[in-house]
């Protein structure tokens, strides 16, 4: 009797567990599908023809009925005075290079200074640097300043912001460098390394994972930047990809379904560099990215 009872209890417990686990998977998969759907549609619609968009009122299917690259063709044949994919990418890359070659390292240097150099006044200075006035507050005076310098319409104002780096990355690096073991830096001091030496020989090699993360996220931030490129890059020749895409969206009557394949083609192409970047360092981003975010 006793053993039979226990057997039944066991079975009920197992059943309960099974239901819980199944519903857990159901929820996680449902969220995953919801997250993926926009990407799947982006891809799918980009390979449909305008004809298909017109003819089929039921839009829910994912596999294009007649596979066509009409959207891509139309995108590349678009009036180059309004949209040019490769010029957009080239312009964005100019800003990216400045960020990757200067801004990132400058920010790391700030992080090192705040995290490892015990200079007087570093706490108030850190707070001062971290108080972020919203960009919209400063945009008008900064615009006036740049326009007095004759730099509006050139690429310089946008480059400058990325040249000096920012305290968002600086603060992240500060946390990271602060959490490195003290002994390493003390040993370096004993060996006679100054701060420049410690920065280049200790901080940078030890920060590699954090640097990769910030490089990737910084790259994406620059890629997606809208406000300052929109304001300063008035010259058609200088506009970044994202700004050109907004212009493209405004140029075609985007409400029309027949225009969607072309717009989605632009969306797919503009996502590919970021996706490649993400997939090539996803192990780092997923492991370290979330872990350090908590400490901040």
């Amino acid at each position: 009797m006793k053993s039979e009872n226990r057997y039944r209890e066991n079975r009920i417990a197992k059943l309960k567990r099974g239901i819980a686990v199944t519903s857990l998977y159901a929820v996680l998969i449902a969220v995953a599908i919801t997250t993926l759907l926009p990407f799947l549609y982006m891809f799918s619609v980009s390979f449909r023809s305008a004809n298909e968009m017109r003819e089929f009122s039921d839009l829910l299917y994912l596999i294009p009925k007649d596979f066509s690259i009409e959207g891509y063709k139309k995108l590349f044949a678009f009036n180059p005075n309004q949209f040019s994919f490769f010029r957009g990418v080239a312009n964005t890359m100019k800003i990216e290079i400045v960020f990757l070659c200067c801004g990132l390292w400058m920010s790391t240097l700030y992080g090192y200074s705040f995290g490892r150099i015990k200079f007087r006044g570093r706490n108030p200075m850190l707070i001062f640097c971290l108080i972020q006035v919203p960009q919209i507050v400063t945009i008008m005076p900064v615009y006036t300043m740049f326009s007095k310098m004759g730099l509006v319409g050139t690429i310089w104002p946008v480059l400058m912001g990325n040249f000096f780096g920012n305290m968002g990355i600086g603060f992240y690096m500060e946390r990271y460098i602060k959490n490195l073991p003290d002994e390493i830096f003390e040993a370096a001091t004993v060996d006679g390394l100054g701060h420049i030496g410690k920065f280049f020989h200790m901080a940078i090699p030890l920060c590699k994972p954090a640097l990769v993360i910030q490089a990737v996220f910084g790259f994406m931030g620059v890629w997606n930047e809208l406000l300052s490129p929109e304001i300063y890059l008035t010259n058609m020749e200088d506009k970044t990809l994202q700004i050109l895409m907004v212009a493209l969206n405004n140029a075609v009557s985007s409400g029309r379904l027949t225009q969607q394949p072309m717009l989605m083609a632009a969306a797919v192409l503009s996502s590919i560099p970021l996706l490649i970047l993400f997939f090539s360092c996803q192990h780092l981003l997923i492991e370290a990215g979330a872990a350090v975010a908590i400490k901040g």
């Binding site: 549609y41 400063t138 005076p141 809208l226 907004v246 981003l285 979330a290």
Partner: protein, 294 residues
């Protein structure tokens, strides 16, 4: 006497002087940049908001000092609508945080298979091209688009003033959910497992462990999420810029941007200052934490 004097003016060691030198040298670029890109502009904003300067006027000179800009801001219907909208968009924040937390709890299940798949998928919205995402949601929200077909409704999502805000909230929650979940998941993994083991020895139930261990340990990350969520929400701009054409969904930032394009600089100054006060207020707890940590 001599002793008292040296106590009052402590001699700065050579080491300390060297630290001062390198520290200030290394941070000088950002200080200079902040001075020119934030401090002076904010002061300028503050000063010009008390004048009647108009960039686009025929004779753009300051003729008098006045509080008109503030009067205009506070009596302008556009500004208050924008304020209301900005607060309205914050509805998405608790939804995102709560749902993200639940998903993280699910992912914390030890025997979960395909963890890597979920990780990558949940990460995706955060690492995509912003305008591309806006394009897809434009397509979803199209009156003849996917969402209406799927739900069997006939809503002009982005054109109907009543629906445009919920639409943008849906998009926002979609975009932020996975990242929030992953952050919570990482935070949960960082909790010391010994706490749970000793709780198990005491015979604590799952719920007790949840309320006594997990939730308190997640306080920091929740505060972080709420604060950055509010500050980010107050400063949201891109959805209006890329997706919506009407004024009914304006955020404060977008309203200010419109005034900026219109050349009404005192109004920009006044509006922006009011906004920045709110933003900085919401960041204060974070600054306090930084001070405490250091």
């Amino acid at each position: 006497m001599v002793g008292a004097k040296t106590a009052r003016i402590p001699k700065v060691s050579k080491w300390q002087r060297r630290e001062d030198f390198w520290g200030w040298l290394f941070i000088s670029p950002i200080l200079i940049w902040i001075l020119f890109s934030s401090v002076i502009p904010t002061l300028y904003c503050f000063l010009i908001s008390f004048t009647d300067y108009n960039m686009l006027a025929w004779d753009n000179k300051i003729t008098k000092l006045t509080l008109d800009a503030y009067k205009d801001v506070f009596t302008s219907e556009g500004y208050w609508t924008a304020m209301y909208n900005t607060v309205y968009y914050l509805i998405g924040l608790p939804i995102r945080i709560f749902a993200g937390f639940l998903i993280a709890c699910g992912m914390n299940y030890k025997k979960l298979r395909g963890k890597k798949f979920f990780h990558i998928v949940y990460y995706l919205p955060g690492v995509s091209s912003g305008v591309a995402i806006a394009f897809v949601w434009n397509y979803f929200f199209n009156p003849d688009g996917v969402l209406n077909t799927l739900l069997g409704t006939n809503i002009a999502w982005l054109f109907d003033p009543d629906w445009v805000k919920p639409s943008l909230i849906i998009k926002g929650v979609w975009g932020g959910l996975g990242g929030t979940a992953l952050m919570y998941y990482a935070a949960m993994r960082n909790i010391n497992q010994e706490l749970y083991e000793s709780a198990d020895l005491d015979g604590a139930s799952t719920w007790v462990k949840m309320f006594k261990i997990t939730l308190p340990m997640l306080k920091t990350i929740t505060i972080y999420n709420v604060m950055t969520g509010i500050a980010g929400g107050l400063n949201s701009f891109s959805d209006n810029f890329t997706m919506v054409s009407g004024n009914s969904s304006n955020t404060v930032v977008y309203w200010i941007y419109q005034q900026f394009l219109g050349g009404n600089y005192p109004l920009v100054g006044a509006g922006a200052l009011v906004l920045s006060i709110f933003t900085i207020l919401f960041s204060v707890p974070q600054y306090r934490k930084i001070v405490k940590d250091n």
